[in-house]
């Protein structure tokens, strides 16, 4: 069943005084409940733009986004807030942690906003912290931890409330293969155990191999996709060969380290 539908989404930046940039052109996609989807494409191809539109962070120049059959542009402020708080988890490419709060406070923010009881918050916190291997930095301030640790904290914040839909922008961009595997397993777990729907942007074929379907995006258009049929390892090979077929665009320099 479709949880998310995008119809002919376009987003044009600039205009009037500067030359307009078509960051996204007529992108349409349907995401079924519980699907784990990867989005790949060269830098500047419009991946972040697509994610922003799906999360209602940004408004499309044209086209609509429907979640559970409801056009999100028609939601009231309150319903939009409730949707974001209960159903959505978003991981930014540049983390966006609040510097005034500790790592722990950053992570629990969605639960606090939803007035979850302190005991429940605590158990959820230790669970995700353990999954992502960041128990030892919880008390620290944002500027006291490394980029990879910040990234994992941002992921923890996006999944702590077990959202039904997770939109992640290069969640493993700054991680070594071990941490990266930890993150991917946590996402996989969310999808398998809780039926979460995940849409993840990545440049890393290894991370992408955890997905069930990969969308390839170029110049603002979704131009092809591949499905996972067999094992993760064979899917990894499929992804690499697709990328090669597209001329190596979007290939991560680190692709070979996982082989």
């Amino acid at each position: 069943m479709a949880i998310l539908t995008a119809n002919k989404l376009s987003r044009v930046y600039g205009g009037k005084r500067s030359v307009p940039t078509w960051a996204l052109r007529d992108a349409s996609l349907t995401v079924n409940e519980g699907e784990f989807i990867g989005v790949m494409g060269p830098s500047g191809s419009g991946k972040t733009t697509l994610l922003n539109l799906l999360a209602a962070i940004d408004t499309p120049t044209s086209g609509t986004v429907e979640i559970d059959g409801v056009d999100i542009s028609t939601l009231s402020d309150r319903d939009l807030a409730i949707f974001r708080r209960r159903k959505l988890g978003f991981v930014f490419q540049d983390y966006n942690l609040l510097h005034t709060l500790s790592i722990q406070e950053n992570i629990v923010l969605p639960l606090v906003l939803d007035r979850v009881s302190p005991a429940a918050i605590q158990s959820r916190l230790s669970e995700v912290a353990h999954q992502l291997g960041i128990q030892y930095i919880l008390e620290k301030r944002v500027f006291q931890v490394s980029g990879g640790e910040q990234q994992r904290a941002a992921i923890a914040r996006a999944i702590i409330h077990r959202p039904a839909l997770i939109l992640a922008d290069e969640p493993t961009g700054n991680l070594d293969s071990k941490s990266s595997a930890g993150v991917m397993k946590a996402l996989r777990d969310l999808s398998d155990r809780w039926g979460a729907t995940i849409l993840m942007v990545t440049h890393d074929a290894f991370a992408a191999s955890f997905c069930e379907r990969i969308l390839f995006i170029r110049d603002g258009r979704i131009h092809s996709q591949i499905h996972r049929l067999g094992s993760r390892e064979s899917f990894y090979e499929d992804i690499l060969s697709s990328l090669r077929a597209q001329g190596g665009d979007g290939l991560d320099a680190s692709q070979d380290k996982h082989q």
Binding site: N52, A55, A56, I57, D58, T59, D77, R78, L80, A81, I82, F83, R84, R85, R86, L88, F90, N96, L98, H99, T100, L101, S102, E105, V108, L109, P110, V112, L113, D114, P118, I121, R141, F143, Q144, R157
Partner: protein
């Protein structure tokens, strides 16, 4: 964990940014309580302290000013904070915070700051109010000092008012965030900076406006001051804004073009950044410049007024004591009693004139005082004035003016003892009669006429009219009181003394000066804080920028130098411009006071004192801001 806890963490995490805001709020609370503790003091309210009423009025007005001031100050600071935190609110929105939740968070933060500000302000204010009450008692000259107590109504008013203020402003501030514009909120900090547009014509216009306004101020005089004041202020304010928005950019762009200058030292880094900083902060800088010009001018004017006050008193009272009385006692006896009283208080009389005269009922309320010519000339001689020589059947009206007598005479009728005398009268300028003439008309008649009038006079119509001068007149208040009660038995016609009028006005000027000082200091501190906030509201971007510079090999020391230079311009350009404006305003003032012999420099020196005071505060702010800013910029770069 609750939202409230998060709010508290947030305030703690932004400690440095909040520091100046907090300190200024504490100061406002403190000053407000000090004034309120006097205004609402039971002794004052119940009227146990004489003369406190007028003072109360003055203090009430300054309290209103403080509240209005604090309102705008807190409003401005809060919106500066919110702007700096757009990203945070964008993120919270994305995490599903409702507008109500964020509003509650902002209001909680304001309450936290308000509560602690009130607590600290009162904590300091209560002990300090003891000093304040002592000072007030001294200034008002009350015999027993006003009791030191914690004035409960003042505490309640202060805390109630300021908490309300913070909650109200917190609520207003929440209007700045909209849940629909997440992207804009998130990108606020990385919004591409457009290079400032600059128009040479607007820059020239700004200089013309300022020049025109100041030129007008230079030539204004007592007659044109009032109609010119508002338009000139408006024109100069507009000019100043355009100056900071355009001309400053123009100057910097010009400097940028001169490569010999640009590539020397660290000028490239300093100037290219400063262009943005000036343009973005033009409104604040112009506001500080214009307001500081106003405040410095007001301070200068108050102190000039205080300084001219002694002159005014001396002019209004050419003699330290003058009186007129009529009764049975002989003038010599009265004079010797007065001298005795003065001697008791060891007051050295340097000039004494005792004149006999005759009171005739006439148009003037207390009758006309007739003085024989010989008596008058004695007085005139002793005070170095021109002698009078009258023809027969001639008289002179003494008028309290400086000038040359003219020879014209007018026949006037004097009625006394049932008879009417027609006398040729002329006016005779004689400044020393200054005050008495307002209650008695003074007429000098020739000796023979006086004699014939006095012969048949009733005892009660004979009057004594005396003037004294003494050097230590400031100590004569007590003696004057005793003289007054002595003369009251003698049917006192009138008594005026320099010391009484001096004392009466001394309180008012001292008070005005004190209130002026309060408000001025408060303003300077507030404006310093505003600049400080502006600086810190951009620190996220600056941190990134300086981090990059450091990676490119610019040493921390050099970055420090660049920052210092920029801050120097930022903090001192407004005072410099404000001082120039003030100079012209002071010129206007000295034009108006010219008849009172106040040259430009004499007037300007008070403004200079205010400028010096402002500069000191600004230096403190500059140093504090630089230290905190550099530390904050490098804090993350180090991690």
């Amino acid at each position: 964990m609750t939202l409230r806890r998060i709010s508290i963490s947030n305030v703690k995490g932004m400690g440095r940014k909040y520091a100046a805001f907090f300190a200024s709020s504490v100061l406002a609370v403190l000053v407000f309580y000090l004034l309120a503790s006097f205004v609402m003091h039971p002794d004052v309210v119940n009227g146990y302290v004489s003369q406190a009423e007028r003072v109360r009025q003055g203090l009430l007005i300054s309290q209103y000013i403080i509240v209005i001031f604090t309102f705008f100050f807190v409003l401005y600071s809060s919106s500066a904070f919110i702007r700096a935190r757009k990203k945070e609110f964008g993120l919270l929105t994305l995490l599903g915070a409702t507008k109500a939740q964020m509003s509650r968070m902002i209001v909680t933060e304001h309450i936290l700051i308000g509560l602690s500000g009130v607590a600290v302000g009162l904590g300091l204010g209560v002990p300090l109010s003891k000093l304040m009450l002592n000072a007030m008692s001294k200034m008002l000259g009350v015999t027993s000092p006003i009791r030191f107590i914690v004035v409960i109504p003042a505490v309640l008013w202060t805390s109630g008012l300021f908490l309300l203020l913070f909650v109200f402003i917190g609520t207003i501030t929440t209007l700045q965030i909209s849940p629909r514009k997440v992207v804009r909120l998130l990108r606020e900090h990385q919004r591409p900076k457009v290079f400032p547009r600059y128009s040479r014509w607007v820059a020239i216009l700004s200089l013309l406006l300022i020049g025109g306004g100041c030129g007008t101020a230079w030539f204004v005089d007592g007659r044109t001051l009032v109609p010119a004041m508002l338009p000139v202020t408006a024109v100069v304010s507009l000019g100043t804004f355009l100056f900071f928005a355009q001309a400053s950019v123009g100057i910097l762009m010009y400097l940028k073009k001169k490569t010999t200058f640009l590539y020397r030292n660290l000028n490239l880094l300093t100037i290219s950044d400063l262009i943005f900083r000036m343009k973005e902060n033009a409104r604040v800088l112009a506001a500080v410049a214009v307001l500081s010009a106003c405040v410095i001018t007001a301070t200068g004017t108050i102190y000039t007024a205080e300084a001219t006050f002694l002159q005014d008193v001396a002019r209004a009272h050419p003699q330290a004591l003058t009186f007129a009385a009529r009764g049975e006692t002989a003038p010599e006896t009265i004079a010797s009693r007065v001298r005795e009283i003065l001697r008791e208080d060891s007051i050295e009389v340097t000039e004494e004139i005792v004149l006999e005269g005759l009171v005739t009922p006439s148009q003037a309320e207390n009758g006309t005082l007739l003085i024989p010519e010989t008596n008058f000339n004695k007085w005139a001689e002793s005070s170095g004035a021109q002698r009078l020589s009258l023809e027969e059947n001639e008289a002179a009206y003494l008028v309290p003016m400086v000038g040359e007598p003219n020879g014209e005479t007018v026949p006037m009728e004097v009625v006394y003892g049932g008879e009417t005398y027609t006398i040729n009268t002329r006016t005779w300028p004689f400044p020393r009669t200054n005050y008495l003439s307002s209650m008695n008309r003074l007429m000098v008649v020739d000796d023979t006429l006086f004699e014939s009038l006095a012969k048949g006079a009733a005892d009660g119509d004979l009057a004594v009219f005396a003037g004294y001068e003494f050097d230590n007149w400031r100590d004569s208040l007590d003696a004057i009181k005793r003289i007054r009660s002595l003369l009251e038995a003698e049917h006192l016609l009138g008594l005026r003394s320099r010391v009484e009028s001096y004392e009466g006005r001394k309180q008012m000027t001292a008070l005005t000066a004190m209130i002026g000082l309060f408000v001025t200091v408060l303003f300077f501190i507030a404006s310093g804080s505003m600049l400080y906030f502006r600086l810190f509201s951009e620190i996220e971007e600056d941190r990134e920028k300086y981090g990059i510079m450091e990676k490119l090999g610019v040493s921390r020391h050099d970055i420090g130098t660049v920052v210092s230079r920029q801050l120097l311009v930022f903090f001192f350009a407004p005072i410099a411009v404000g001082s120039v404006h003030c100079g012209f305003a002071m010129k206007s003032l000295s034009n108006v006071l010219r008849m009172m012999h106040w040259p430009f420099l004499g007037v300007f020196r008070f403004a200079l004192a205010a400028i010096a005071g402002f500069s000191v505060i600004q230096v403190v702010y500059f140093l504090a801001a630089r230290r905190a800013y550099i530390r904050e910029v490098f804090r993350e770069a180090a991690a």
